[in-house]
């Protein structure tokens, strides 16, 4: 590895032109919700700052986060981000193998001590001294602790790293444990979702690399720019919810008319994520658009809150046809999924504090 390169130098070396570079800067600004005046600032930062390496570790997981990540919407943004990352360590995509890869990992850790970002996909299982996830002959938990020790910050990709996810579902046979419960002395950015949306992942990592700081987080440690709204708040089927028009079974008359999926188990009202705005697979769609309710995969504990397909029969169609009642319905939804109620209430309270007078959040501001 040569001296400390800047991001721009790395990109040049990867064959990215000046024109593409500037385009990337404006895309980044747009993705992060910043105005065009930030473009020169981003460009300047990329040209002058030494690149921050990202080390991407895989624990107990299913690789869905990586799969989501590598097909983010703009190929250029993906190329750039990927070229920054693949230079370092990611065992699904990188070129080198085995011990050579281990050597690179150690080299980066040494050279960029205290200055690299650790991205974790999956989580460590703690039962039986960690032997349910062995990486290079050693428990993953050891590798995680070792790499986290000198990291500047940790990104917990996906629900496994952030919350535990289905592998931590009862009876949690391996005691799969979220990252923040074992790494307690580093800033941790949680990017939950099973998997998270590609654009959310690239957005978070780009923000951190570009501005060299952690995005503003909510009380649960999630970046506010992507996790401050419920799926329900921006769902295109919301008018049907408000009008009391519901799907009762997949493929019934209501399903054909695109009614609300709440009664067939949709968790949109209690789930904070960007699916209904950013959507999936390059903005093509999201689960609700394909006629299936949201399963709440970015919420803590979504795996142990009763069946996803349990019909919500305690609702009466008449009686909540207006916006003002949305919060009541939201809370009913939360109650049916048990533990979520406290979280929902807490986050609603937090949002009330943040968005005083924000007309877009009438339901919460009530």
């Amino acid at each position: 590895m040569q001296g400390l390169e800047t991001f721009y130098e790395v990109m040049r070396r990867q064959g990215i032109t000046r024109r593409s570079f500037l385009k990337y800067c404006s895309l980044t600004a747009a993705a992060l919700g910043l105005g065009p005046e930030f473009v020169p600032q981003i460009a300047h930062a990329m040209e002058t700052k030494p690149r921050t390496p990202v080390l991407w570790l895989h624990g107990l997981e299913c690789t869905c986060c990586s799969e989501s990540f590598i097909r983010s919407a703009h190929p250029l943004a993906k190329d750039v981000v990927l070229s920054m990352i693949s230079l370092d360590y990611d065992d699904t995509l990188m070129a080198s193998a085995g011990h050579q890869a281990e050597a690179i990992l150690h080299e980066v850790m040494e050279k960029y001590k205290g200055n690299y970002i650790l991205a974790v996909e999956g989580n460590p299982p703690l039962n039986e001294d960690g032997m349910f996830c062995i990486i290079g002959g050693k428990p993953f938990i050891d590798q995680l602790r070792m790499v986290a020790k000198d990291a500047k910050a940790v990104i917990s990709w996906g629900s496994c790293a952030s919350h535990g996810c289905v592998q931590a579902a009862r009876p949690n046979p391996t005691r799969a444990t979220p990252v923040h419960e074992v790494i307690t002395d580093k800033p941790i950015i949680k990017v939950p979702g099973c998997p998270p949306i590609a654009e959310v992942m690239t957005g978070v990592i780009t923000y951190m690399l570009t501005f060299d700081r952690i995005p503003e987080l909510d009380r649960q440690g999630r970046p506010k720019m992507f996790y401050s709204q419920r799926i329900h708040d921006k769902c295109y089927r919301r008018p049907h919810f408000d009008a009391g028009q519901f799907v009762e079974a997949f493929d019934d008359e209501g399903a054909r008319k695109g009614y609300c999926l709440y009664k067939v188990g949709c968790k949109g009202p209690t789930t904070y994520n960007a699916c209904s705005t950013t959507r999936w697979n390059e903005g093509t769609s999201f689960p609700i658009q394909a006629g299936h309710g949201c399963i709440g995969c970015s919420e803590d504990g979504f795996w142990d809150k009763g069946s996803w397909y349990a019909r919500l029969t305690d609702l009466h169609n008449a009686g909540f046809g207006i916006e003002a009642n949305a919060d009541k319905i939201g809370l009913t939804a939360a109650a049916t999924v048990g533990g979520a109620v406290a979280v929902h209430a807490a986050v609603s309270a937090l949002k009330r504090a943040q968005h005083k007078g924000d007309v877009g959040h009438q339901g919460d501001a009530k």
């Binding site: 299913c62 690789t63 989501s68 699904t92 890869a101 046979p173 997949f250």
Partner: protein
């Protein structure tokens, strides 16, 4: 990590962790005089999905089972839906079946593209091959994460996955496949978008991967034809692969048992697109799923006294087991190991080129990779037909009721081969859920009789060059199976 010893003595080598495979894998090799004499394949990751599923509402398998794997999630969801449909005695609607075929095929083709471009070919861009005549091309196109073909394939794959966005809401971890069909019917506008997407993918593959019409690839029928393709066929990555395969003799590398099976892929009105059955030295045969068993002798699992049919199976990890060397059980059909995958599907279905390759020099790295490419072409052609078969406005999902008691198997074909879910329902809850994934078959450990699994057999004889600690031939053989380690143990 090798113990060096006198030239003719046995050398032990641990290869792993592997990159560019899905999940974690470790292979222990015993080598002598530059050849592998014995291999032991270890899957070092265990999560316990089968245990997690027990006691839940059976329908929740549709959410939990796909999360076994972010790569094969659609196949897992299809197997779960089939098992649930079996318990309910429910037949999917015709529209639902066609849409499901499209959804499953999209993932399988996407996986084949990922395997060839991102996992398999980059090994030929390694410095160790710098003296080969094809190296410059291989390096420019397939250097990991940077080669022109790698990048282009990722873009093509992203385009292809719009189909899953459109029909299934998102990918990975799609939710649309249900026991009675799918949650979303396609309208005429969707049909046009689907055809446009498939058209774009077809163009990309015809321009760069094959340099020829998909139909021409699908119709390949003999070894002579691919030899001709290599000598003066259209320029493309397929031809480059044939060139490399000939130079490195990949047709003689990595032979296992030449015993194949498939549950049959993409059900149709009368027959599936790819036939169900077995293919062995005796030729084609029917598959008796009652003769499937799992042996725990070398898996760190309780239940070692005898092999079990998956309906009688269990998943109780035994970390104190010192003899077991993997979390992977050893599935057997009629007591012997079988290979699953695209090569198995094409062998069982009787695709003439693949049958010819295997007949002449056995199932090899070449046979496995060629089968995947031929299958990619065949499947894409079929997908275009399915889009036209969709009937907008007609029923897409049938409704059933879950009995309080019952059992059924959901059998489908993932990109990597035969995938089965065996579900037992009692008192309206999941009483038992056993999963056998394709890589469980291919990367199985030895059974009670000491018979190695297919990869373990395929690695015997692999050359190890002087001083190699991660022998490149071993890497080719391992990756030729396109292993999915997270599915293997689940």
């Amino acid at each position: 990590m090798s113990e060096r010893s006198p030239a003719d003595a046995t050398t032990r080598l641990v290869v792993g962790p592997f990159n560019r495979v899905e999940g974690d894998l470790e292979v222990r090799l015993e080598a002598r005089q530059g050849r592998v004499e014995a291999a032991y394949v270890s899957s070092p990751l265990f999560r316990g999905f089968e245990r997690i599923l027990e006691g839940r509402d059976p329908r929740d398998a549709l959410v939990i089972a796909p999360r076994i794997c972010g790569i094969c999630s659609v196949s897992q969801s299809h197997a779960a839906a089939l098992a649930l449909a079996g318990v309910q005695g429910l037949e999917p609607t015709q529209n639902g079946r066609t849409a499901t075929n499209l959804i499953v095929a999209t993932e399988n083709v996407a996986d084949h593209l990922m395997h060839f471009h991102v996992f398999f070919m980059p090994d030929f861009a390694r410095g160790i091959y710098a003296d080969r005549p094809w190296f410059a091309k291989a390096e420019a196109r397939f250097k990991a994460a940077q080669g022109t073909s790698v990048r282009r394939a990722l873009e093509t794959r992203t385009t292809l996955l719009h189909i899953l966005g459109l029909l299934a809401g998102r990918w990975p971890h799609t939710l649309a496949i249900q026991p009675g069909g799918v949650t979303r019917g396609a309208d005429a506008r969707d049909q046009m978008r689907l055809l446009a997407t498939l058209g774009a993918v077809r163009r990309a593959l015809e321009d760069h991967l094959f340099g020829a019409k998909l139909e021409r690839v699908a119709a390949l029928a003999s070894v002579e034809e691919i030899e001709q393709w290599r000598a003066n066929g259209p320029e493309g990555d397929f031809r480059l692969f044939l060139e490399i395969a000939a130079d490195l003799d990949l047709g003689r590398l990595g032979r296992a048992y030449d015993r194949y099976f498939s549950y049959g892929a993409y059900p149709g009105m009368e027959a599936p697109l790819y036939a169900r059955g077995t293919f062995t030295a005796e030729g084609p045969g029917a598959i008796d799923t009652g003769a499937i068993t799992e042996d725990h002798t070398n898996a760190r699992m309780e239940g070692r006294s005898r092999p079990h049919h998956p309906f009688e199976g269990s998943t109780l990890p035994d970390p104190d087991d010192e003899e077991g060397y993997t979390w992977c059980k050893a599935p057997r059909l009629g007591g012997v190991p079988f290979e699953a995958g695209a090569v198995a599907r094409q062998m069982v279905d009787g695709q003439p080129l693949i049958r010819d390759i295997v007949a002449r020099s056995g199932g090899s790295v070449l046979a496995r990779v060629a089968a995947r490419l031929v299958e990619t072409a065949r499947t894409l052609i079929a997908m275009e037909g399915w889009v036209r078969e969709l009937r907008p406005g007609e029923q897409w999902c049938a409704q059933g009721t879950m009995p309080s008691r019952g059992r059924a198997a959901g059998l489908t074909e993932a990109a990597r081969g035969a995938l089965g879910h065996w579900l037992k329902v009692e008192n309206g809850r999941i009483a038992s859920y056993q999963i056998i994934a394709p890589t469980t078959w291919n990367f199985s450990p030895r059974d009670a009789a000491g018979v190695p699994g297919p990869l373990e057999a395929a690695l015997v004889g692999a050359p190890i060059r002087q001083g190699e600690t991660t022998p490149v031939a071993v890497q080719h053989i391992v990756r030729s199976f396109d292993p999915c380690m997270v599915c293997t143990v689940h």
